[in-house]
Amino acid sequence: MSRGLALFALLLLAGRPAFAALCPGCDIVLVSFDALQASHVSSLGYERATTPTLDAFARKGFLFSQAVSAAPWTVPATMSWFTGTYPSEHRVVNKYSAYAGTHSVVANLGALSPQLTTLASVLKKNGYATGGFTGDAGVNGMFGFSAGFDVYSDSVPPFSGFERSIPAALDWVKDAKGRKFFLFLHGYDVHGQHAPSGGPDRRFVAAGYKGPFDGSPAQQRDLRERGLAGDVDLAPADVSFWRAIYDEKIARADAAFGLFVSSMEAMGAAGRAVFVLASDHGTELYEHRKFDHGATLYDELVRVPLVIVVPGAKAGATLTEQVSMVDLMPTLLDIVGVEVDEALRRQLRGRSLVPAMKGRQKGEDAYFETDYRLYTHKRGLRTADRWKFIITMETGRRELYDLAKDPGETLDLIESQPRKAYELEQRLFRHFKDLGQDLDEVDWVTACSPVYSDQCR
């Protein structure tokens, strides 16, 4: 920076107060609506009234309409939240880091990437009481999610929802009494493997639906596996059915969350709480002839809702500039004024979104990746100006989509826009090279590494 500009900046700063944290020492409530697709959120443009509570929060705070996950399924995506790094770095990219039948090794952050510190650990070190209340499965503590939590609850039936995690969370908050707390609240309510209590009430299902499906986890699992083996072929009425079931689950989760908020307010525990409402990834609902999540990098998986409510901060903005979920950790630390030391600064790959909330930040490119079950290896980039580039490493297949004109990613422009494709490919590989991974030197082998217990037999 030239002397002249430095002098100018100094003088400008001299007349201003020091930059202050938005909500120093505030509580943090981080809520993961596992598997909630961004475009099924009402305030993000969905036609059904699926998310009244979440929408109310959006009106009170900041709604990020182009928030992008670093991975399309729970384990790597949530670990990216907790470390502010990409899956290639934290390396918790599958259930097993080594799969060999009975001699398998479960992927664990502390074992794979001991140099990384987690959000909960940092907050705990800074005097926070830390509690995590989850639906087990992909956020089980064995992956390293529990590091830094005073209490981490995952001993519930796999794929449990808010019906389990909310009561436990409320009990814990009650006992936290006066201490500042970080609460991670997670539920699988929206997930295909979660059965709502009493079964679906089919509130959004078309009245005359006569198809073969009942919305059960078993049927969803079958569709998931069929989709991995090839494309699924469903009649439009069946697709509508599944989307209706999905939307019902969203609405029920939203309602449960609403009750949670009321309880928090009744306890007087919400007054100084920063709320972050998000999902770790979306859900494929036949947009590309597949179901579930993990194996592709389309927007139905990587675009996630993100709402941040800061007590006292100016409200009601929808921020359309693109952000990445690796920005979450630096953002939370910035909001509550926790100091980031040199080592942590070097760890965090994202940036604080506080300037965005103050209206002063440009959108950024977002990167994501998957090695889901070693069934596939994909890497992708969503540019700040809405281009999507995806490469399937084991086949070399490239895809290019102009999201502004084709948000459904139906028209692959890879042949017709070679210059754009070339430019984005170089950016994508550069990103990984900067993380220390030369994608050109990796042997892209596909194999079977199970996530669910009935796989890879």
């Binding site: 030239s2 002397r3 002249g4 500009l5 430095a6 002098l7 100018f8 003088l11 400008l12 007349g15 070399g396 070679p418 210059r419 070339y422 430019e423 490919e425 170089q426 590989f429 550069r430 090279k433 994608l439 050109d440 030197e441 042997d443």
Partner: protein
């Protein structure tokens, strides 16, 4: 506060380097790019590299206003192998073009295709048979040369019309005129210097270098044929290896006149090529293109002219690896670069000049900053591969044009596992400008089947490593490996890493495809 700030802002902007300054030197996205690859050209036979004879007045004049690289190293010693390495910016084992019958995977990124994608009109005018595509040869040998599938990629025009071992002719100059208003990338692989030296060179040019009639023992008078080159080793001219020969052959000494004739014929080819360069530069000027055209002159590999006992490109010595590189570009100030640069650095450099990001598969890096005067921070070693083993190429030619006397060597080679040797990364070298380390991974092969061993009846044992101090011994005649290998520990380590990488890439590739005919004269 505000007025003061405003004043200071103005002051700040004034003191800062102007944001509107010209783009980095040599970057010219609107410029044409001409890549002239003069096969077999040694830099030290050009005036601008210090040659005392007047072989290259036009190239010298061009070099005087360009950047001349004094230590540019070929990635391989054989023409298409080296060129493929340059176009892909990957070493041979890593790009898959490891043999004359190889075909580059369509997924492999090549420079001409990248330039074409980015709007350049692309054309190649070939006078080197290794890149050939010609119906004439299909008629004669029933096969279409496959080079076009690798080297033709990305070229809108791929023209071999003027004949081999010459210089581009009328069709080239016509194309230049027709396309003078387009932004173009031209590739001119010129075969006029490659042996047979002086083959198609006009007599008046030959006479300039060899005024007297040669009366020596070599078969030709004005040009130097392969049939002679393959019989010369270590100062002796050996008899044709006979069909039933069992006694050690007796060579006749190569005389000073013989050597002078060979050099003269070589220089005549250089001069003939230089005359074409002169014509080309004139044409550029005539069409008003000289100020908006980047001109790059290099060779795919150089040539041993007796220093290591033979007159061809056979091994990893710098006589064969050190090649010229001259870059002339608008805004790039004339100068010389001492740093060691690799042929795999060429494509990233050209792309930077074109304002295009380099492709990630590139194993080299742009040296444009170095060309513009920045000093290279660390001399990373530069590698070269002796791939395919030269002897196996010879075997392929023998197989395709059987002549009785060749059978003995062919039979010898066929006692070895030729397919294995074809898909093995054999000898490799690493150099950093001071030290040069060669790793003889094929020494067991050479000990039994080296051509020179067969020719002279004396096979020799090869040391595993050859280490040369290029400053004290640029001719690479004193192998210091036994005494001073520790001084090259960094090269040994770098070579080990390089070899492991190359071996891994080779394992992933299928065996070489069926042979193809190269229309050598």
């Amino acid at each position: 506060m505000i007025p003061t700030a405003g004043l200071l802002l103005a002051l700040g902007l004034f003191l800062q380097a102007p944001a509107w300054a010209a783009s980095p030197a040599g970057v010219c996205p609107d410029c044409n790019i001409v890549l002239i690859a003069i096969d077999t050209l040694r830099p030290d036979h050009l005036g601008c590299y210090g040659y005392p004879k007047a072989t290259s007045p036009h190239i010298d004049r061009l070099a005087a206003r360009g950047v001349v690289f004094d230590d540019f190293i070929a990635p391989a010693i054989l023409t298409p192998i080296s060129m493929a390495s340059m176009f892909t910016s990957r070493y041979p084992a890593a790009n898959g073009y490891t043999h004359f019958s190889s075909v580059l995977d369509t997924a492999t990124v090549v420079l001409p295709e990248v330039l074409k994608t980015h709007g350049y009109e692309t054309a190649a005018f070939l006078t080197s048979p290794e890149f050939y595509k010609s119906a004439r040869w299909r008629d004669t040998h029933g096969q279409t040369p496959k080079s076009v599938y690798s080297f033709g990629r990305g070229f809108g025009t791929y023209d071999g019309g003027t004949g081999i071992r010459g210089v581009p002719g009328d069709s080239f100059f016509q194309w230049l005129e027709n396309n003078r208003r387009s932004k173009f990338f031209l590739w001119l692989p010129i075969g006029a210097v490659h042996s047979p030296y002086g083959l198609n060179v006009p007599t008046e040019i030959i006479r300039r270098f060899h005024p007297q009639d040669y009366q020596g023992q070599l078969g030709q008078r004005v040009f130097f044929q392969w049939s002679d080159a393959k019989r010369i080793y270590a100062g002796g001219l050996y008899p044709e290896p006979g069909l039933n020969e069992s006694t050690a052959p007796v060579p006749s000494p190569l005389t000073a006149a013989d050597h002078a004739m060979i050099i003269a014929a070589y220089d005549a080819g250089v001069s003939y090529t230089d005359a074409f360069i002169g014509k080309f530069l004139e044409a550029l000027q005539k069409h008003g293109l000289d100020r908006k055209t980047i001109v790059i002159i290099l060779s795919e590999h150089a040539e041993d002219l007796g220093e290591h006992g033979y007159y061809t490109h056979y091994d990893l010595y710098n006589t064969e690896l050190k090649i010229p590189l001259i870059i002339v570009a608008p805004g790039l100030r004339a100068g010389r670069v001492a740093a060691t640069v690799s042929g795999v650095d060429l494509a990233p450099t050209i792309l930077e000049m074109a304002g295009i990001p380099a492709f990630h598969q590139a194993q080299g890096r742009s040296v444009l900053a170095v060309a513009a005067g920045a000093s290279q921070t660390k001399a990373a070693p530069v590698f070269s591969q002796r791939m395919p083993p030269w002897e196996l190429l010879l075997h392929d030619f023998m197989t395709m044009t059987p002549v009785p006397w060749k059978n003995r060597y062919q039979a010898l080679l066929e006692t070895l596992d030729l397919e294995a040797w074809k898909t093995t990364s054999t000898d490799v070298s690493a150099q950093d400008g001071r030290w040069k380390l060669i790793h003889r991974r094929s020494r067991s092969f050479l000990a039994r089947a080296s051509w020179w061993g067969f020719l002279t009846g004396r096979f020799k044992e090869w040391p595993e490593y050859e280490l040369y101090d290029l400053k004290a011994d640029p001719g690479e005649s004193r192998n210091l490996a036994a005494a001073r290998i520790e001084e090259a520990a960094h090269l040994k380590q770098a070579l080990a890493v390089f070899e492991a990488k190359m071996d891994r890439h080779l394992i992933k590739r299928p065996a070489t495809t069926p042979k193809q005919w190269i229309p050598y004269p």
